[in-house]
Amino acid sequence: MKSFLFIFLSIISLELIGQNSLDDLIGTTTLPNKPISTTFSSTRIVTGHSVEMIPKGVREFRISHRFGTIQEGFYDIFGLDQAKIRLGYDIGISDKLMVGFGRNSHKKVYDVFARYSFLNQTIDNSVPLTFQYLFASSIETLRYGVKIPFMQRFAQINQLLIAKKINKFSFQLMPSLMIHEYDNYDKNTFAGIGGAVRYLLGKRVALNIEYFARLKHQDNGSQDFDRIFNQNYNSLGIGIDIEAGGHVFQFHFSNTNTMNEQAFMFETNKTWEKGEICFGFNILREFSSNKKSKKEW
């Protein structure tokens, strides 16, 4: 009886295989553990890095503009007269590594960075998080009356980027460490933590909030402590991304109008409380080294 049932089932199963033979032959192209796409719209959230990578062989020319504070009103056209600019060029070395460099008009700073992706969140969440490391370094070339030590012009940032996308929300955490020397201050290591949220408002429009908090050293009551910590503020940026088939436009308001990590994470001297808000935007142009396939038909 048992073997009879087995034979019966075998015949049925063969029958089923026979019916779907073509499908069975080829299988499926769907991979469940594909990396999740577009945790953020662009490689920058507002000013800081996001976990978005540019693919291998792609280069991006990025123009970032930050105006002065809007509170001066029409006198300096809501900050336009105080505009700062960063010209940057980013290169996708591989799908896991990108590097870039830039030039800031703020204090004539040159910056370089490299960002590496260790883990990528997958669609089926078998890898639940995206995990990256950012190294950024900058050199200030502004001339002062007196010669200042190299380490006071130099800054190095080490940052981890931990991100998670859940449907329309994306979250990112950025614990950061800066090495930089200030005049008359004995410590040269500064810690900070950043947080960012992206919410997809429409299919192609996203809202971004980016916040960087500094962890203060123990207050030694000195003037230099006050200058470094109390006269600077945490930075908060709120922006809108518009994706338009091959372009991304980013507009935002922030209490900082600088664009190198040292300056916008640790040296923001404006505050939302006093209405010192700056308008800014990023635009970019992508270049691909893949040869353009000409239309042949």
Partner: protein
């Protein structure tokens, strides 16, 4: 007894009539105001039974390669939503120089009937076709935003070679 049934049923399936895709190239092209849109996909899989004419082709939509990678990303994210609808499936029957059946793209299934050119060369089958897909039919929405000017119809060119299935 069981083994016998297996053997009989395997023999009864005539393997020789089935062909699978050896290589394929699917391209689309659309003229736009600022930048022409074109992409290429070589990762389709498919099979055809030349006796019954029955065929199925599966195209991984996220494998379309664009010269502009940002455009490719937007194509996947907001136009074709490939996380939600990863595969385009075309199944139907071939009848002389005609393929008719159903195409499922962006989660919407449409009846389709297109002329094809089918040639058998050196034991391989070449199938080439050009046809158009109307974006509205598959609920692919194109925003009237900024500089975009994407045609309502996308022209698709397919060249493929099928080889005899060997187990």
């Amino acid at each position: 007894m069981v083994i016998l049934i297996y053997i009989i049923s395997f023999l009864s399936v005539n393997e020789d009539k089935r062909f699978i895709i050896e290589n394929s190239n699917i391209e689309f092209y659309s003229k736009a105001l600022l930048e022409d849109i074109q992409a290429k996909n070589t990762e389709s899989i498919g099979a055809i039974d030349i006796e019954s004419g029955e065929f199925v082709i599966k195209i991984p939509v996220s494998s379309f390669e664009f010269p502009n990678k940002l455009m490719q990303k937007h194509f996947n994210d907001s136009y074709l939503e490939t996380d939600k609808y990863p595969e385009c499936i075309f199944r139907g029957t071939i009848n002389n120089q005609n393929a008719s059946g159903e195409i499922t793209l962006h989660g919407v299934t449409k009846k389709i009937d297109i002329p094809i050119s089918l040639q058998e060369i050196d034991g391989k089958i070449n199938i080439n076709t050009n046809f158009k897909i109307i974006l509205k039919d598959h609920k692919i929405k194109i925003p009237r935003l900024l500089f975009q000017n994407i045609a309502e119809e996308i022209e698709i060119k397919v060249t493929s070679t099928f080889t005899r299935y060997v187990e």
